[in-house]
Amino acid sequence: MALTANAEALLRVSEVTKTFGGVAAVDGVSFSVRPGESVGLVGPNGAGKTTLFNCVCGQLRPERGTIELNGRSLNGMATFERARLGIGRTYQRVEVFSDMNVRDHLIVSVRARWRQGRLWRDLCNLSKPTADERERVDAVLDLVGLSDRADTSVSALGLGSCRLVELARALIAEPVLLMADEPSSGLDVHETRELGAVLRQVQRDQGMAMILIEHDLEMVAEVVDRTVVMNLGQVVAEGHFDTVMADPIVRSAYLGLHE
């Protein structure tokens, strides 16, 4: 399988393997992402895409292989440390903080990213949201279209809104790499198109890199610069979206089409 050997890589994943009970969910996967690049990670269910995400974020420890961000090895690094290096993430199964409102989701993200939470500041009553934090929160909420829900508890939001909260929570931390795991899942066609537009705009404005796991291939085609296709834990194709989708192996493995 082709390994994108790129000296300027922001993220470099090399020969990563993760097994569950002897079954290789990710099997020797290698690929890289350049700064500001948008990469689509597609493949059938069970291909190992989310497992790979979990390995990159540190929620799973791979048995083999190395993962580097900006030339720095992430192996052995805890999830929160990777987040503080600028890896932002949304989840396949939505993960929100159930007894918080939308605004607090973003404030907690900012403070965790830049290690601003200090016990002594809390005890001295110096932890109220600053004007700068409020401004940034308002800007991001405006971007994702949640301004009118800022003070709503996430328990009262539907799935689509919760996905936007997840995205806003990741974006406000100004990630160098955003990893979005099926962000359109649960959204209708119109919302999906809007989400795609937001992702494109944010990526362009902030210059961040992005890896997008998505089953909506139309959205992938619109958003990403390059596509990586996985099947049975391995990378089976890599390149421009149209090119890889024309690849017979991909059509056979992913789309079930045989030439």
Binding site: F97, D99, R118, L119, D122, T152, G158, L159, R169, A173
Partner: protein
Amino acid sequence: MQHLLGFGIPGVPYGCTYALVAVGLVLTYQATGVLNFAYGAQAYLSAFVFTYLVQNQHLPVGVAFVISVVILAPAVGLILDRLLFRKIAPANVIAKLVTGISMLVGIPAVLSVLFTTSNQYNPPSILFDPNVVYFHLVGTPINGIAVTCVVATAVTLIALVVLMRWTNLGLQMRGAVESRRLIELDGVNSGRVVASAWAISGFIAGLAGVLLAPIYGQLQFSDYAALMVAAFAAAAWAVLRSLPVAVLVGILMGITVTVLQGYLPVGSIWSSAALTSLPFVVLVGALLLVPGMRTLGQDKDPLASVDPPPPPIAAAVRAPEFDRVIKILWYVLLVAFSLSMLTWMPKIWENVFNAGLAYSVVFLSITLITGMGGQLSLCQATLAGVGAFTAAQVADRLGANLLVGALVGALVAALVAVVLATASVRLRGLGLALMTIAAALVFDNAIFAQVATIRGQSINVTSSSVGFGILNPNGRAFFVLAMVVLSVCVVLVLRVRNGSIGRFLGAMRGSSTAASGIGVNLTWMHVLVFGLSGAVAGLGGTLLAINQQAVNTQTFSWSFSLVFVVVVVTTGVSTPEGAIQAGFSFVVLQQLLTYVPSRLGGNSLLVILFAFGALTYVAHPEGILEFQKRRWTMRFERLLLRNRTSSTDISGPDAGATAGDGQLARVAADSDPALDR
């Protein structure tokens, strides 16, 4: 070898009862996802009724067995299922634990109220005569108790293995632990499956209870509580999954205890402390070494998202105008209370309220760890004891004032909590609860006994050791001290809750996965909240000791840790007001019960009130007082602000009664979140 076997064989009957209870715990967990803390109480109940029927009502052993074990024990299991556990959402680990704990403390209390004494002597054996030696094994006489235990355990285990592995009901039970709602979609009557599991596990509890009773010679609840720890340890090594492993570890523990008893010098610290701590050490070993225990209790139900979101606290839903009114009322109440305490309050009620203030400080530590940290600690009374004993020892050895000792005590309690948190850093939910109860029992058995005396005398708090006239019976200095300590603690807790750390803890409660994903250091938060909670508990412990003018092991025993949790969750664990209400309810009810004739139960009645009060936690996880506050707040709000749009969000169990205004209207565009997600 002869010696080893000679010492080990008498341990087999003990091991059999450990194994039986462990198997019952595993069975209940497998079928229902509940680690049943009430199991020891269920066993004790059957043993008590069995012994009572034989000794007091002179019924034949067989008839008493049928009534107490075949009928009563499964019935209790069914009642627990039908009235309590079935109503708890699968993901709500804390509600399951609290419900079990409330039954663990409530059932023995009910017995002591219904019957004049809860202790009975020479309980009978169900099968073979305890006074007859049936044969010798490697020179060891085997009497009727041993034969009964082994035979009954073997028959029960074989029947269970057959049930679980080769019957349709067993298959359905194994499916139910994953998601009872999911197997229902496959056409299985999950209610019947789960009820069967509760009935069978209830029967096993009853059987273990009557088997254990004649071994000890005296029927007392403390033996059944110790049995629970041993069974927890065996079940933990089996990851609450494997019946054979649970049996093996249970029997090995029984044998190890008697072997150590044989080899360790009689009267040494090893035989007194280490031996009694063995089950706790085995339990801690399982929690630290068995990977499956780290994720135990974490929700695996694919349909968990259909559960409604947790109800909000009253303060989160009231309108800003009303918020100001409530705050003013609080200040008025505080001033009125303080003036009353300093002027006209009768001595008897002054003492009661002073004790309430001290308990409130201890209970604030539960607000920190459970309300804010989202974890259940079952050793808060122990941490309070660490603070109190340290304060007393420091004051005595350094000749310092006890108030200085209190600060050192708080620091040491915080350190103990930090060590405990560090050791249990990978544990959450069930695993952490077990770890903390094990720690509490180790302190009770091995450590507190060593520090509970000074120069061979029990520790009394005197006026000279505290100073400032705090113990002057005609002064009000203790009230001022307790108010200052409580106020400082409340302000600090509120600042943490409203600050960054509170937000991080809120994120952890909501989703630890996402919290770490945004950069929250879960380990540090876990250790920090334990440390803070330990410091507050330690401070409260010394305050309690000063109030009681003594530092003794009874005040800080492990059972009080359970009672404290039950009391606080009954009133409201999410807010400092909840802790204060719990502290005052605890002592005021105690005082009111002194006016009730003692034959009606005395302090047992108090435990019963809170134990059954805690059962409301199932319906109102925010606490019954917090629930009532929210309800009344919204009623007043509707009355006073009728013509205005409320800014409230009223998701929760009572949402149906009050829906229609506030945020719900604004989020109406969103589909029903419970169904949608």
